[in-house]
Amino acid sequence: MMQLLYLDPGSGSYLIQVIIAAVLGVIFYFKSGWNWIKSFFVKTPPKTEEEKNESTD
């Protein structure tokens, strides 16, 4: 644990990101399937110009 203190804050997080990415990959896979089914039943209102600017999408 002490050795870690000499490391750059960014290092050592590769492995955890690989694991998180793998888990999220599975979740997103099922979610997108679910959203695809849901899109047949639910209508989403279009965004206003301001909302478009304030979000990343």
Binding site: Y14, V23, L24, T56
Partner: protein, 457 residues
Amino acid sequence: MSQPINHHPASFRDPSGFIYEKDGTFYRFVAADYRQDYDLLMKSGLAEELLKKRLLLPFTELSENHTGRADWYKSLQPQQLPFISYAWEWSFEQLKDAALSTLNICRLALQKGMILKDATPTNIQLVDGRYKMIDTLSFETYNEGESWIAYRQFCECFLNPLLIAVHTGMEVHKLMLSYPDGVPAAVTSGLLPFKTKLNASVYLHVHLQAKMGAKQSVEQKQTARKITRKNIDQILQNLHSLITNLSLPAKATTWNNYYSETILSETYFSEKKKLVSSLLESIEYNSVLDLGANEGEFSLLCKNEAMVISTDFDSDCINRLYKRIKEEKRTNIYPVVIDLTYPSPSLGWMNNERPAFFKRTTADVCMALALIHHLAIAKNITFEQLAAFFASVCKVLIIEFVPKNDPKVAGMLQWRKDIFGNYNEDLFEQAFSQLFELEKKMSVQGSERTMYVYRKK
């Protein structure tokens, strides 16, 4: 020959460039080393998009090299910031919005082939009513297969303090003061209740990270699997939705019922508002410091053109004020959590990087409404000390004197020995007249209180 420049003491960690001050204006030096990344930021359309979405501090390119350095590539003149605050002065919603801005910026960068190389609240400031990236040099080229270098820093500086605040009731500004570089995963994991282990996102970003951090050796573990850009985007999206759904549990604090359930009459409140409005109209000012602002009712009376710094020691009040200015789009108000008896100290390398609150805060007008008894009686600060303090932060002082027979003061003295024989209007005026010229004095209707307008001698 170049003019003398002053290198900003907080700008030395990044070899890509630094901030300097020349003739009262702040500039950014972009080093030749950063050329490729800077060109990508500009040519990919990322800078333009971030500016359009109000996520990046606007800047203009200058072709002049003020520094005379050989490794110069560009000089930038950013929009000048009227006021800088730090995460140890922010309420929950403020840190949350700064976190969401950081994630939005990083996702947009990723779409244009770039990524944030650091993710700290010091790179994000409230400018024109929105938390924006102020460090133009935080972007670097993203190469497929790389992880997000700032991931751990993001978790420690944003996600962890927010989670601790939600689940334990600790305030984010106090956490950030204890951990200016962010709260480590192991500390966070220890503080969060067991039920958070059942939330997949919290488990992955906090508990698993804490577990792995403790076991990991110094050598980077070799993994067969490579991270893709899509993976990083999913991590960013996941962090975004996790943080968006975080909110503080509702609770009653000392002050959040101050106006609604207070023993003070409604007449007093509306009369005081009228009085303060008319006083503000009679003064010329560009900046206001509202001390003990509560939920900012009186800060909101200031004109839109003036910069208003609203402070209170109660983070819930500042949280509500922040939400309100966001809704009402009052972009001139800067809410900060400050305990006047323990204002933020100078921090960072040689105490120079992050100046103490009162080293970066002065104003034309200071408002100290229903404040003096909290300092003089609850904290035993003398009138002479108070006068000297106010004289050091403003030119004009609007101060309300709360006498001993006021129900609030009576309540404060109910359970303690009255050692405040010197607490009266005459001695108050005497102390303040040493340093200030009295301009106006009037009583506040619906109370025994008196309002003074003083001008510094």
